[in-house]
Subunit: 353 residues, 2 copies
């Protein structure tokens, strides 16, 4: 059978003040009234039975996640007591799936992006599943053909074509500097690393046993426990914090990449929301019930309730209203939101975080 | 005895979203936690007994006004059922005072400005009272020596010096164009017209009888009525809407001007608030309980409650948060706030006005 896990962990200060410690960005209903997590589940429903979709998230969010995806069985929402990066989230998911179905094909998805059209995405996932089912010792990653020299993503250097949209991976590259990123893009031999994967569950567990034996052994025991929550709480703090790319993918030999034949749009910060949303004639992105604009262009306006936001003569400004806090941010400075949140912590403690 | 009226009428859309139809700007507690009206009353308490201070305001605001100045007797708050401009507000006040004390000296103040230091202001008022008591047929206005060619104010052309800071008025000038305003300022022969006056109540009533006989007659009857509210409601709609400057001051012959020897600062719009408030080292004016700024200069931030306002990389921006609406405005466009409010009315009716 085919199983999937969706990793929905990160806190996401970059969408403050809507994203908070207890309300991660994947749960914000920003995209036509839907959350990224709900969209991620919806996207793969044609490929995986609901009972075969696991969500690995922060234990703090588990209730909110369960409420956001009511179609999934409650036991499929797994809460990590603390974050131990993707190697352990993947390992935990793999151990849970292996107990249910040792022969499973396992896909790993993130909930950070808008992916469209869904049909093309599903076609790529199907192709990856077929590839690892035909070649069970392979680890498949999804790659996106880069459209610009992004320095915030890892890259996948690919080689020989193995099939339709399937290539052998030569190496993984960490986030490059701008010069290197340009070289990657111009060469035509690199994909962006999506952080999404497909493999046989047996294969990834073997890889973890080889490359991250402590986690593999502990997570196997955790998944076998009658008290999953208790076992997680005891074990997780002792695990090494490491990404699946660094722990496994960069070391493994039989890695293939499947090209994602669709748009893959980050909504990790406020300006990015504009790139995935409808705009008015003046280039304003409005995700708010009640607004009034006079002479303003290329603004992003977001409100979680019916509070009125009125803008006069503002351009390239981000205004985000939440119940207890409002952000007004110069679009060109939005990459410094984390710095602002740090200042907030210094001034008001955890209250607004 | 000396009596005073404070005119606190106008709706003041220019401080939206804090000022509303039912909450005029004079009641906003923006100046060190005090309202302009409270400051106006406080300012003259050394000169007038509380029972001799009348406030003429919109009937809609009467309760809020009474609550804002609890030291005044309730019957001293007079609510106009509709606005009929300053000639009628002054006339109404004069008629009420004349019934209490036909020999009264009457001062007329506005509540639109910050005036400081209070001592100098009181000295000017005292001087004006003495001038009209020595010369009971005179009408005295207060003038401010202009510091720049303001085109939003009327000017007073003055002549012969009659005493310390007291001059004969040659003529009143309507709001000038920029060129004319410059000429006025450079000549040294003009004051800004403050819209504040002192006269014997008998003298202003005689002037109204001469120049605005219909109002004079009707308001005398209203003030004599046992049911002031009912009489006002019946009579006010029939009065001609006209300013005291236009109706009386421009026509009267024995007009003098007393120079106000103090600062006289308009707080009629948001940028003006910055000129009367403390600023931080970056020139930001903050009238809000909870704020967090990263790299921003010359902003004005106002909140009526403890909602947090966070600014990142914003300069010369006005952010005003009220319970149900937030304004984000380019400082250089703030003169167009009335236009924005018009747009709001078209979109949401009276809800936010």
């Amino acid at each position: 059978m085919r199983h999937a896990i969706i990793m929905a962990g990160g806190a996401g200060q970059r969408l403050w003040p809507l994203s908070r410690t207890k309300r991660p960005k994947q749960l914000l209903e920003l995209i036509s009234g839907k959350s990224l997590l709900a969209l991620a589940v919806e996207r793969i429903k044609g490929l995986f039975e609901p009972e075969n979709i696991l969500i690995v998230t922060n234990a703090e969010y588990a209730d909110a996640v369960a409420a956001a995806v009511p179609d999934l069985p409650a036991e499929n929402i797994i809460g990590e007591p603390i974050g131990r990066d993707t190697a352990n989230a993947v390992g935990l998911g793999a151990c849970v799936i292996a107990r249910r179905d040792p022969e499973a094909t396992m896909a790993v998805f993130t909930a950070d992006h808008i992916i469209r059209p869904v049909e093309s995405f599903c076609e790529s996932v199907r192709r990856a599943c077929e590839a690892v089912e035909a070649q069970p010792d392979a680890l498949a990653t999804f790659g996106i053909r880069p459209t610009w020299p992004h320095t915030g993503l890892g890259y996948v250097h690919y080689g020989e074509k193995l099939g339709d949209s399937v290539y052998k991976v030569l190496s993984f590259k960490e986030k490059p500097d701008h010069f290197t990123a340009r070289r990657y893009v111009e060469s035509g031999q690199y994909f962006w690393n999506s952080g999404m994967f497909v493999w046989k569950v047996r294969t990834i567990l073997d890889a973890l046993k080889a490359y991250l034996p402590d986690s593999a052994e502990k997570l196997t025991r955790v998944a076998a426990s009658d008290d999953l929550g208790g076992a997680l709480a005891d074990t997780y703090p002792t695990l090494e914090k490491i990404s699946i790319d660094f722990a496994v993918m960069e070391k493994a030999t039989n890695v293939i990449v499947v090209e994602l034949g669709c748009e893959w749009l980050d909504v990790g910060n406020w300006p990015a929301l504009a790139t995935v949303s409808e705009m008015d004639a003046d280039g304003n992105t409005i995700v708010a019930e009640r607004t009034c604009l006079l002479d303003g262009e290329r603004n992003v306006i977001v409100s979680e309730d019916d509070h009125l936001i009125a803008l006069l003569g503002m351009d390239e400004c981000i205004v985000v209203h939440s119940r207890d806090a409002t952000l007004v941010c110069n679009s060109n400075e939005s990459h410094r939101l984390k710095e602002l949140v740090g200042l907030l912590r210094a001034k008001y403690g955890e209250q607004y975080l």
